[in-house]
Subunit: 483 residues, 3 copies
C-alpha cells in the first residue's frame, strides 16, 4: 500500500452541515491564534531550565505518553519493546525498533484523539505529511530525529513558537522547585509556573507516604509529626510555590470526600495516620479533612484550589509491580459529589474570595451534580472535560451536559493536563474547535445570537482561564505580550 497523506483539514471537527460549519469556521477564525494559557499540566520543568534537545522520537513521543502505549499494551504489545521504563529502568531497546512497532500498530488509534493530536504534531511541528504506518515509520523517525537536533526544536524555542503565554507544571510538596528558580533566573521570557500538589504527604495509602513526610520536615524545618507543625509546613510550602509562580493547588484523591472535623478530632486523626496506626477509613477521612484545610489556607493565601477525584490508581496490579505508577492503568470510578463536597461547602461554600475548581472522570455527574452545584455555590467552578474525556466527543458532552444549568461562566476554559509537551497546541486547538462547533450549533438553532457566540468563544479560549486561575493581574510574559 502506498503511503497515505495526513489530512489535517482546515475544517476538522466542525459539524458537517454547511451552514453550521460556516458559523463554526467564523467563530474559530477569531480564536485560533489566541495565546495558549495552560494552567494545569504535567510537563517537566527541567526541559525549560536546561533547554536540552529532546533525545529521539521514541523518547519524546512514546515512552512518556501512556495514552499511546496503553492502547498498544491492551492489544498484546510488550511495554519493554516500546521502550517504556519499568521499575528496573529504561529497557535496552533500540528507539527506532520501538518506533517501528508503534507505527505498525498506529491503526489502533483510528477514531481516537491520540491520532488527531499526533497527526497535528507531525504536520504542524515537523512538516511530515504522510500517515504513520509500518512503511513510513523510518522516514518519519528520521525527519523528527533530524529536527530535534536543531536549535528550533529545543524546548524554549518550541514554547515560544507555540505562543504559550503561561504553562503550569505540577510539583509535589517535597520538590525543591530548582528548575523553576533556574527558569526565572535564566533571562528567558517564557512563563513556566508551578502548582502545589501535596498528595504525597496527605495520602497515607501511598507507598512513599512516610518518606515524603520526612522530606517535608527537612525542607520546611517544621515538626510535621505534630498537627500544627504539619499545617505550618503546608503553609510554608504554599508560599514557596507561590514564589515560583503558583496560583493554584491541586488534589488528586480517590474520591471527592471532604470533612470538617473540629480541631481536636482532626488532631487525633492526624496522630493516628502519621503514626501508621490508621486504617483505610482513617486515611480516607484524613484526605477528606485535608481538602477542607486546604480550602481554609486558600482563603488566606489566595491559591485557587483544584480537585481531581475519582481515579482508581494502578488498577493493573502486575503492571504496577513491574512498571510502577502512571502507566496507563488508572481507571475512572463512579464519583459522588453531592454528599462528598458538602462538609467543605457548608464551611466555605459561600466565601467570595475562595475558588474551587472541580473535575470529574464520571460524566454522569456533569448534569446531575456538578452543573447544579456550580450553578449555586459562589466558590465552585467546573473544570473542563478531563483525561479520558479530553476528546472531541468528551468535550462536546461536557458542554451539552453542563451549559444549560451552569452556563458558560461557571466553567474555566481548557486544561491540556498533559505530559506530552508537543501535543499542547494540538490539544488546545481541538478544544477551541469543539467549543466553536458547539456554539455554532446553538447559533444555527437560534439559541444564541452570533455576537454572543463570538464573545463566548473568546471567553472559553482565553479570558475565562485567566480569570479562573487568577492570572489576570500577573505580569504577562513577553511571549504573550507580543502575541
Amino acid at each position: 500500500m502506498a503511503a497515505q497523506p495526513i489530512e489535517l483539514h482546515e475544517d476538522r471537527l466542525f459539524p458537517a452541515e454547511p451552514g453550521v460549519r460556516g458559523i463554526a469556521r467564523a467563530l474559530y477564525r477569531e480564536v485560533a491564534a489566541l495565546p495558549i494559557v495552560s494552567p494545569h499540566g504535567h510537563t517537566d520543568p527541567r526541559w525549560f531550565s536546561s533547554n536540552e534537545a529532546f533525545a529521539n522520537p521514541t523518547a519524546l513521543f512514546l515512552a512518556p505518553d501512556h495514552y499511546l502505549y496503553r492502547m498498544l499494551y491492551s492489544q498484546g504489545v510488550s511495554l519493554d519493546r516500546l521502550g517504556v521504563p519499568s521499575r528496573e529502568g529504561a529497557p535496552g531497546v533500540d528507539p527506532r525498533e520501538a518506533w517501528r512497532l508503534f507505527a505498525s500498530h498506529f491503526y489502533l488509534f483510528r477514531g481516537t484523539p491520540s491520532a488527531l493530536w499526533l497527526n497535528h504534531v507531525l504536520v504542524q511541528v515537523f512538516g511530515v505529511d504522510v500517515r504513520l504506518s509500518a512503511e513510513t515509520a523510518d522516514e518519519i523517525y528520521d525527519a523528527i530525529d533530524a529536527a530535534l537536533k536543531t536549535e528550533a526544536f529545543r524546548p524554549r524555542a518550541l514554547f515560544d513558537r507555540f505562543n504559550i503565554e503561561l504553562l503550569a507544571t505540577t510539583e509535589g510538596p517535597t520538590d525543591t522547585l530548582d528548575h523553576h528558580h533556574a527558569i526565572a533566573q535564566s533571562g528567558w521570557g517564557g512563563r513556566v509556573v508551578t502548582a502545589y500538589r501535596p498528595d504525597a504527604v496527605i495520602d497515607a495509602d501511598h507507598e512513599d507516604f512516610q518518606r515524603a513526610l520526612e522530606s517535608f520536615a527537612t525542607l520546611t524545618g517544621e515538626d510535621v509529626y505534630s498537627w500544627s507543625g504539619y499545617l505550618a509546613a503546608h503553609r510554608k510550602r504554599r508560599a514557596d510555590f507561590m514564589a515560583a509562580g503558583a496560583t493554584s493547588s491541586d488534589h488528586g484523591h480517590p474520591t471527592a470526600a471532604t470533612a470538617n472535623l473540629n480541631s481536636a478530632e482532626a488532631e487525633a486523626l492526624f496522630a493516628r495516620v502519621v503514626a501508621g496506626a490508621g486504617d483505610a477509613d482513617d486515611h480516607e477521612l484524613f484526605r477528606a479533612q485535608m481538602l477542607t484545610e486546604m480550602a481554609r489556607m486558600s482563603l488566606e493565601d489566595g491559591l485557587v484550589m483544584q480537585i481531581h477525584p475519582g481515579s482508581f490508581r494502578n488498577h493493573n496490579f502486575r503492571l504496577f509491580e513491574s512498571h510502577g505508577r502512571d502507566k496507563g492503568a488508572d481507571i475512572p470510578m463512579r464519583t459522588d459529589y453531592v454528599s462528598a463536597l458538602k462538609p467543605l461547602l457548608d464551611q466555605f461554600g459561600n466565601e467570595p474570595d475562595l475558588s474551587v475548581i472541580v473535575f470529574t472522570l464520571d460524566e454522569t455527574s456533569y448534569a446531575r451534580e456538578l452543573a447544579p452545584l456550580a450553578g449555586c455555590y459562589p466558590v465552585l467552578k467546573l473544570g473542563p472535560a478531563w483525561w479520558f474525556h479530553d476528546s472531541p466527543e468528551g468535550m462536546m458532552r461536557f458542554r451539552k451536559h453542563t451549559t444549560e444549568t451552569a452556563g458558560f461562566y461557571n466553567t474555566v476554559g481548557f486544561n491540556d493536563d498533559t505530559r506530552a509537551f508537543l501535543s499542547i497546541p494540538a490539544r488546545h486547538d481541538v478544544a477551541r474547535r469543539i467549543d466553536c462547533a458547539f456554539l455554532a450549533g446553538l447559533v444555527s438553532e437560534h439559541r444564541l445570537a452570533i455576537d454572543e457566540a463570538h464573545a463566548v468563544a473568546e471567553d472559553l479560549a482565553y479570558n475565562l482561564v485567566r480569570k479562573a486561575y487568577r492570572l489576570e493581574n500577573a505580569q504577562p510574559s513577553p511571549v504573550a505580550a507580543t502575541a
Copy 2:
C-alpha cells in the same frame, strides 16, 4: 454597544439541516396552537382567585424564580440586592435597581433555557424586541411595568390569552384550598385545579412535620396520631382535593424507596415516627411505606400518582439558614429505581386501574431503569424531563434514551412544573419544538413515517397528557372549548 435585537426565530430549536428542519417545521405547524394542558406546576392559585395585577417586573420575574437568581448568586451576586426574600422577609431593595443588576448579568444565561424562556416572554407577551442588558434594563423595565398595570396583563386575562385548557397547582395536605374554591365560584371559566402533595405530613425530617400534623388533625377532625386515623385523614383530604379538581397526587421524596410492610409493622413504624422517636432509617422507611399506602388509596379513588424523587433539598446550609427553602440550592442525587420501586410494584404493579408517573433527576436511569420498567409494568408511565433537564438538550436526551425501549406511549406529554406563570407558553413551546425536532430526525432517517410522526406530535403535545392525567372525561373549560 448598541442594543441588540432579540431574535425569536420561527425555526428556533429545529435541526440545522434544511431537510430535517423542513420536516420539523411541518410537524410543529400542526401542534403549535394546540391548547396548553399543564397538569403539574407550582403557580400561585391566589393570582387567579384575586386576579390582582402583578406588582412590578422584579416581583414577577426575578424574586420568585430560582432558575434565575441561583445563577447570579453562583457568580457572587447577593440575593438581597436582587430582591429575593429571606427569612427576615423581602429586602428593602428598589425593584428597578434589582432589575438593573439582573440585566447587567443576563449574559450569564447564554446557552441556558432561562434565556430562551425570558426572550420568548419579552417578545411574545410584552412586545419587547431588544435583548436585556445593562443599557436596556430601564427601557424594558418600563415597558413591562406599564403593561402590568393594564387589564390585559392581569392573571386571568393572561391565562385566557395563553390558551390554557387546564392548569394544576400543587397544595399541601393542610391547605384549605380557599383560592380554588373562590376560582370555582367566580364565574370565570379558567380551569385551575389542585394536586395533593402530602409530603409535609409524611416526611418526618421536615422541620415543620409536627406542626403540619396538628393542622392535619384540625382540618380533618381525625386522630392523626393513630395509624387508622392518619390514613383516614389522608382519604378525607384526597376527597377534598378531588372536589377542587385534583386528578393527581404528588410525592417529592429524597429517594424513590417504597416499602410494603404488613399492617402491624406499619402501625408500629408510624407510632415511632409520629412520637418523634424514629431515626433517619425510620423516617425513610415511613416515606417508603406511605408511597405504597398512597398507591392503595389511588386504586380506591382514582388519583394518578406522581413520584418526584432524588433531590437533595437545601444543600447550601448557610443559604438555608438565611433564606429558607426553595432558593435554588436543591441538588439532584443519584437515584435508584430498580430496587426502590419493587415493593410497591410487587403489590400493585399489574393493577389495570392504577397509574403511577415516575420522574427523575438522574438521567442515567432513563435508558437503564425507567424505560425498561415502564415498558413492562402496566401501572408505570414516565414523566417528562424534569427540572434541570427541562431544557432543549435535556428533553432531547429524554427522548433519545427512553423511546427505543418504552416507546412514546409510556410517556405522558409535557409538564412545565413552574412557579413562573408567564413562562408557561414559552416552556410548552420549547417542548413542542424539541419533540418535533426529535421526530423530524426519525423521519429523515426513515425510522418513522411522516404520517406517524404527525400523529405522535399531536399525542405528545396534547392527547397523552389528557389521558395520563385522566382529564379526558372531565368537562373541558370554556377556554379550551373555543380553542
Copy 3:
C-alpha cells in the same frame, strides 16, 4: 384509513446531511452483503436439526419475543390473549386473534427498533409491503402463513438465504447437545454451534439449582458435590461443548463480581453453597469465584469467555409467578466493573492467551469504566451494545462513548443475541448501518480518512467477530465459502 406502505428506505439510519449520508452509503455498500457471523444468541437448535416448518405467524413472531409482548403488556394487553405461554402452558387462543391484537397495537412500537426489525422482515423475507395495523392484520397473517408452509421458509432454507456463515446458540450445562449432533450428522452445510452457559449449576439463587446439579452429575459421571469433582465436571462439559463447535462460554450473573479465593476458601465456600447452607452473600461470592475458575479453564482450553452482568431477572413478581422466566421483566441495574473485575484481572488480566468479552446494560460504564479497562488489559474486549441498547441510538452511544478511549480494535463486532431467528438479518443490517453512519460522521469531520473508514467498516461487520470469537481458523461452512 387506507393501508400505509412500509418504507424500507435504502438510506434508512444514515445521517440526514447529504454529504455525510453519501459517505455512509459508500461505506455500507461494501459491507452490506458480507456474510452474517452470529457468535452469540438464543435461537433454538431444534429448528435446524428438525427443519420443520414454523407453525404460524403468531408462534413465530409474537409468542417467543419478549421485546414485542412486553410493550403490549405495559399498555394493559393480556399475555394470554397474545398467545404467550404461561406456567400452565400455551393459552388456548386463536393465533389469528392474537395477531390481530398485536397488529392493532403496533403503533406502540413507533420509534423502537422492534418496528424497524419487523418491517425489515415483512418486506425482505415475506415481500409484504403494507404496514401492520388492525386493518392489514389478516392480509399480512395470511401472507406469512402461506409462506411458512413452503420449503423456502423452512429453517435451513432461511439460514442459507440469510447468508449466515455461523450461528451460535446457547445451551446450559445439562444440555445433551443432541440437536447440535443431529445437525452435524445431517449433511446440511449450515454451521450452527453451541456456547457453554453454566449459570444453572453456578447460581444457587436459581430455583432449579439442585436439580441442575443432579443432572450435571448424571451427565458427567463426576461427584459434583466435591469441589474437585465439580470443577472436573465443568471441564468435561466444556470439552463436550467444544466438540459441538463451541468457541465461547457465557456467564449471565446479576453483577460483574469476581473473586480469587485460595483453594481452601473456595472449597469451603463450595461446600456451604452446594449443601444449601449458603446465604445470599455466599451465593454471590460463589458466582464471583466461578468467573475466575472459568477464566482459569479458558486458559487451558481456549474458550473465549463472555460476561453478561447486570440484569435484575424476573423483576415483575406476579408475572414470574404466573408466566415464569424470560417474559420481558428483566430490568438493568447499575453495574460496577472497576472493583468487580479486579480479582479476576489481578490473576489473569495480562495473560496473552485469555480473552474475556464484557457486556453491560449500564451505559454509564462505557466511557467511565469499560473503555478504560479494555484500553489497558490485554485480556479484555468490549461486547457490543446489548439488549435494550441494541438499537440505533444505543449502538451509536456505544461507539461515541467507547471509541475515543478503547478504539475500534478492543471491540468485537456485533451480536444479535436474539431468540427471533427471522430478525437476524435485520439486526445485523441495523448494526452495519449504524457503524457506517458513525464512521461517516468521523470522515465528514475529518477525524478519520475515508480509506481507514472502509477498513474499519469491514472489520466491524466481519473480521473482528471472527478474530474475537476465534472463528478464523475454524473451517468455514459451505455457505460462507460461497458468500
